[in-house]
């Protein structure tokens, strides 16, 4: 029941928003709803630790299993392990920050906050599902509102971007769906098929079925996680989306993909994961280094962050593809880290854009002097992106490097070295962006009178920075949260090799 609250609460808040009058009520209700989620996610963390401390070593905690649609064996089966819990925490952080930065959203505010809350319900539901069909249901729930958010409240060529994003993500969902169906029809329990993740993980699915359906599921989820070459929705989608939607999109949506790649594709089809791991590594390495180089030449701050997200999400897939415990743990760390960091980045960009009405680096300049708080936030996000120790990005990337290096194969080594090289390229584009837009002399004298961040923006940035620093300075708590989950996955994957 505890877990179901994470779906019920956002939905209730969303309903309440519909009955509000005026912007003030809408945003108060939204803030209250998301604050309760925020507090609840910490309550869940506390409960989780308490369970683990009392010696409960089950793979999933707080499980609940109710039949949903019996003829097809669809169950409402939920439960969490450390990996899903860290994703829930991430969602809670990003959602509350997203509501705070949208504080002054005037046009169609009711609908805007309604959609944001529906999105968060979808994300929470996705992360707690242990039934493939339920999981898919929530995945869809998290996609559709984004189309509207971009199409209605976006900027620039928003119709094109919204359409592109929706079509590509729908294509991804379609692939996922086929992959899941393939899995479903290759399972059998007492003559019946099953969607249950825990049950499927305990049976042996034939290699041929795995090899057919793994690519479908992996690419399908991979599209969400900006898998090269299916990443092109990222730059356009992000740049047209309103600030809060960008934060959701990069902070949470892309993590839906990474989580799916790990939890569904890799975990349920371990032999195929081994079979295809060279391909995954190739594509993710290309994404990392190519995304970084493509970022270097961007002039729009949102494009810079969007392309850098392609590069950073490449690390997630690289970590998964390397199939060692350390690298998979690193992939999860990177998901959390990137979620917080990129949300912070988009928040800062949004704050700059709402004041200067431009995101082009050459038109900005000298902002550090006039809006020091916002600029500092931007710099902190940038430093996290380039992997400064003490911030979360460093921890995640280093864990992935360390994990990847454990595979002594020369090609895997080469991929690791190339991935490491991206730390230099990242430094180049981050410093170019900050140098051009924040430092130097002020080009536009109207900027002399810009107002620095308001309380809501300060609070939003503060929440996200707290998360980033908490991971960066003391990574062990998150690490110990995640490792039991990755241990199960890696045991499963390891068992696959010995069976062969």
């Amino acid at each position: 029941m505890l877990l179901s609250l994470f779906i019920i609460l956002p939905l209730l808040t969303a309903l309440a928003v519909l009955f509000c009058k005026g912007l003030k009520q809408v945003r108060m209700i939204s803030l209250m709803g998301t604050s309760v989620q925020f507090v609840f996610s910490f309550g869940l963390l506390y409960e989780y630790w308490k369970e683990r401390a009392s010696g409960n070593r089950a793979q999933f905690l707080f499980e609940m299993n109710a039949s949903w649609f019996d003829p097809l064996h669809i169950h409402y089966h939920i439960g969490i392990d450390g990996i899903s819990l860290s994703m829930i925490l991430l969602t809670a952080f990003v959602v509350i920050a997203g509501v705070l930065v949208s504080w002054t959203q005037e046009t169609l505010n009711k609908e805007f906050f309604f959609l944001l809350l529906i999105l968060s319900a979808g994300a929470y539901g996705y992360f707690i599902s242990l039934d493939l069909f339920t999981l898919f249901f929530f995945l869809e729930l998290a996609v559709i509102p984004k189309f509207l958010l971009i199409g209605i409240w976006g900027s620039g060529k928003k119709e094109y971007s919204a359409m592109k994003l929706a079509l590509m993500l729908m294509a991804g969902s379609a692939l996922v769906f086929v992959g899941l169906m393939g899995l479903y029809f290759n399972t059998s329990i007492n003559g019946a098929h099953s969607f249950d993740l825990v049950e499927i993980s305990q049976m042996q699915i034939s290699n041929s079925a795995q090899n057919t359906f793994f690519p479908l599921a992996f690419i399908g989820f991979g599209i969400f996680a900006a898998l090269f070459p299916f990443h092109t929705w990222v730059p356009d989608g992000h740049s047209s989306a309103p600030t809060a939607a960008s934060m959701f999109l990069a902070g949470i949506s892309m993590k839906l993909g990474g989580y799916g790649c790990l939890r569904v594709a890799t975990y349920l089809m371990p032999e195929a994961a081994h079979h295809y791991s060279p391909v995954i590594i190739l594509l993710s390495t290309v994404a990392i280094i190519y995304g970084a180089f493509a970022t270097m030449m961007q002039k729009d701050l949102k494009y810079i962050n969007a392309y850098s997200s392609v590069s950073h999400c490449g690390f997630v897939l690289l970590g998964i593809g390397m199939l060692t415990q350390t690298s998979i743990t690193g992939a999860v760390l990177q998901m959390v880290s990137h979620g917080l960091m990129t949300a912070l980045f988009f928040a800062a960009i949004g704050m700059i854009y709402s004041r200067t009405h431009t995101r082009l680096t050459e038109q900005l300049g000298g902002l550090l002097k006039v809006i020091p708080f916002i600029s500092t936030v931007f710099v902190i996000a940038g430093l996290c992106s380039l992997g400064l120790p003490g911030l979360s990005g460093f921890v995640a990337e280093m864990t992935i490097f360390m994990g990847s290096w454990q595979n002594p194969d020369q090609w895997y080594r080469l991929a690791t070295i190339l991935a490491c090289a991206s730390i230099v390229v990242t430094a180049v584009y981050i410093l170019r962006a900050t140098g051009k837009s924040l430092m130097g002399p002020i080009h536009n004298f109207q900027y002399n009178h810009l107002a620095d961040a308001g309380w809501n923006e300060r609070l939003a940035a503060g929440i996200l920075i707290t998360g980033i620093v908490a991971i960066g300075v003391a990574p062990f708590w998150l690490y110990y949260l995640i490792t039991p989950g990755t241990e199960y996955i890696i045991q499963h994957v390891g068992k696959a090799i010995t069976l062969k």
């Binding site: 180089f293 460093f394 360390m402 062990f476 690490y479």
Partner: protein, 644 residues
């Protein structure tokens, strides 16, 4: 709990001061920020001195050998059951010496800045960054784990970035700070891969275990790392070589030195900190930290030697031609760091043959004093005369007596004139080079003669030559805090050579009998005196001799003045090759090919649907036609083609 637990406070105090100043300095603390920074550093420096006293005189030595003491250790990040990043404090002779140097020099810089940075709008932020820099460097030297050192290594990089770019309204400061960060980041990439290699083969990240496993001949790790080869070199060579690249980047060794001269864009006291105690000595320290492992791989030692020696000579030649007072000092730093590097390279592990190691650390120690003194003196000059071009300076000896005298002492020390501190440390280095490789020795002596020459060229150009006329005559020679630090550092510079470093810091921990070989010293000192004499002849009074000499050297002079076009080469590589050759094509490829394909897919789908939408016209007779057409086609297919 270790009795050295309190050493934790040495880096933590600056960190606390950074956090307080960074969060509240701008609004609430303001001008008292400086005092806060100075107090925290003062306590830090006292604790370091106490640590040194206790380590060297009371309980550091067991059975005649200085021990490695782990004062603190806790697991920060567990990569796998065996491999973890620990945050720890490792005390051994070099780390104890380094915390004394870092905290003391940083304290001097903190005090000097009270006067130098007075009235600066972002005074509190400046002190916050100084504290962060000091914290990072203290953490670096105390690291007990190779990954911990990498963490602080990166923090040193970012603090230097923040301080070099402190005057961020100035585009050249932004460029310089970016350059410093990116060049060192590039080197850190090598360092990171090096760490991965060493960690993989030794199965640990802990310094003590790593060194023990890789140096014990016959241990499985030792055999593994020697037998695994790549492109003809063993993995040990690769690992150490890559680690050395990291060190060379931070220590501004050729060809990764290009960031150092530009780093003077930061406030001058910051340059003193970067050049004397933090950042640039990090590379030397890293090699010294891993020296037992380096000493078993002769290939890498050769690389270290030659990179160091070449950098020393190269920088000395360039320094002879520069006209910016801070640029001359920057190249002199590069040259002196080169001395420390090749001194490590010619050294061996243990006993008398480990003299190079001792000399290198000794030189690091004395260099910290005279180089910070030189930079702070230069800062006082710039503060006074508002220019850093030596062509606009001259005759300041009467106007700035304190600065003049302290600068002179520093110049004599760096030139290696007895009894000033630089003489003693340089003698050890030259001796070690002489016993190892005569060519290196020749380069070293030539470089020290050049050093004496360009330092006195600078000295005469600033303090003698001609009298400049300042507009306001009532100008003070800096504030009390500035003069005070100069005097303290001058005293240290004059007497630091008498510190018995060789009986404390040796490659294997056993004290070394130190002695000065007077006969050996005569030649290098004579060479240095010749350099000084030449500088006196050319620059003491205003005359035309320098012009004659420069025109005689012609293109060589121009090339040296332009720093042998290394910067231009880098610019070419970054702008033409990386930006235009890789970055732009990647961006174009993404927009037009990858995305174009996706868009093409969408338009094709739309077109096809446009083509076939006529099929669903809603007219029954058309449907009937398709229906019968289909049946006939199927019938033909089954009967004639598939032969059912």
């Amino acid at each position: 709990m270790s009795p050295y637990f309190f050493v934790m406070l040495v880096p933590l105090l600056p960190l606390v001061s950074f956090c307080i100043l960074g969060l509240f300095g701008r609004k609430y603390i303001k001008t008292t920020s400086g005092t806060l920074g100075v107090i925290s550093l003062f306590i830090s420096a006292l604790l370091s001195l106490y640590t040194a006293y206790r380590y060297f005189f009371i309980d550091g030595k067991v059975n005649g050998i200085y021990q490695h003491i782990i004062a603190l250790k806790y697991t920060w990040l567990q990569f796998s059951p065996r491999v973890s990043i620990d945050m720890g404090i490792l005390l051994d002779p070099i780390s104890v010496m380094m915390i004394v140097i870092v905290s003391f020099i940083s304290l001097m810089v903190h005090i000097f800045s009270l006067g130098y940075m007075k009235g600066e709008e972002r005074f509190a932020i400046y002190y916050a960054f100084l504290s962060l820099f000091t914290f990072s460097m203290l953490g670096l030297v105390l690291s007990s784990n190779i990954f911990q050192i990498y963490i602080f290594w990166e923090l040193v990089g970012i603090s230097s970035f923040l301080l070099i770019g402190f005057y961020f309204e100035n585009p050249s400061a932004v460029t310089a700070s970016n350059k410093a960060f990116i060049v060192t980041r590039f080197a850190d990439f090598g360092f990171l891969i090096g760490i991965l290699i060493l960690a993989f083969y030794s199965g640990t990240l802990d310094f003590g275990t790593l060194i023990e496993r890789l140096t014990t001949a016959g241990s499985s790790q030792y055999i593994d790392i020697h037998s695994a080869t790549f492109l003809g070199a063993s993995m040990l060579t690769w690992g150490l070589g890559l680690v050395f690249i990291g060190g060379a980047g931070k220590s501004a060794m050729f060809p990764l030195h290009i960031w150092l001269p530009d780093a003077m864009e930061g406030p001058t006291p910051v340059s003193a900190l970067i050049h004397a105690a933090t950042m640039v000595v990090a590379g030397v320290f890293l090699v010294a930290r891993l020296f037992p492992v380096f000493s078993i791989d002769l290939t890498v030692l050769q690389i270290v030697t030659w990179v160091g020696a070449f950098s020393a000579l190269f920088a000395a030649v360039v320094a002879c031609t520069q006209t910016d007072i801070k640029r001359v000092l920057a190249f002199s730093t590069m040259s002196q760091i080169g001395f420390m590097m090749f001194s490590l390279g010619v050294s061996k592990y243990g006993g008398e043959s480990g003299l190079g190691y001792t000399g290198s650390m000794f030189h690091l120690f004395t260099h910290a004093f005279f180089k910070s003194l030189l930079f702070l003196g230069a800062g006082a000059v710039i503060h006074f005369a508002h220019t850093n071009d030596i062509r606009d300076l001259g005759g300041l000896r009467k106007l700035m007596p304190v600065t003049h005298l302290s600068f002179l002492i520093a110049c004599l020390a760096i030139a290696g004139i007895p009894p000033f501190s630089g003489f003693f440390s340089k003698e050890d280095i030259l001796m070690a080079a002489y016993h190892s490789d005569k060519i290196i020795y020749a380069i070293a002596v030539l470089t020290s003669a050049l050093t004496a020459f360009y330092m006195f060229r600078l000295y005469y150009s600033v303090f003698w030559k001609r009298d400049i006329h300042l507009h306001d005559k009532n100008h003070e020679e800096g504030t009390l805090s500035m003069r005070l630090t100069l005097v303290i550092l001058a005293v240290c510079t004059a007497f630091a050579g008498f510190v018995p470093v060789s009986s404390w810091i040796t490659s294997d921990g056993a004290p070394l009998e130190s002695h000065i070989d007077i006969v050996f010293s005569v030649f290098p000192v004579l060479m240095a005196l010749t350099g000084i004499g030449l500088a006196t002849y050319l620059y003491k009074t205003e005359n035309r001799r320098p012009q004659i000499i420069t025109s005689a050297f012609g293109s060589l002079y121009r090339a040296a003045y332009r720093k042998f076009y290394i910067d231009e080469l880098y610019l070419f590589i970054t702008r033409k090759i990386i930006f235009n050759g890789i970055g732009r094509p990647a961006a174009w490829f993404d927009k037009n090919i990858v995305d174009g394909f996706m868009n093409g897919l969408a338009t094709t789908t739309a077109k096809i649907s446009g083509l076939i939408k006529g099929l669903q016209s809603g007219k029954v007779q058309n449907y009937a036609l398709y229906f019968f057409g289909g049946i006939i086609a199927l019938a033909v297919l089954f009967i004639y083609v598939l032969n059912y």
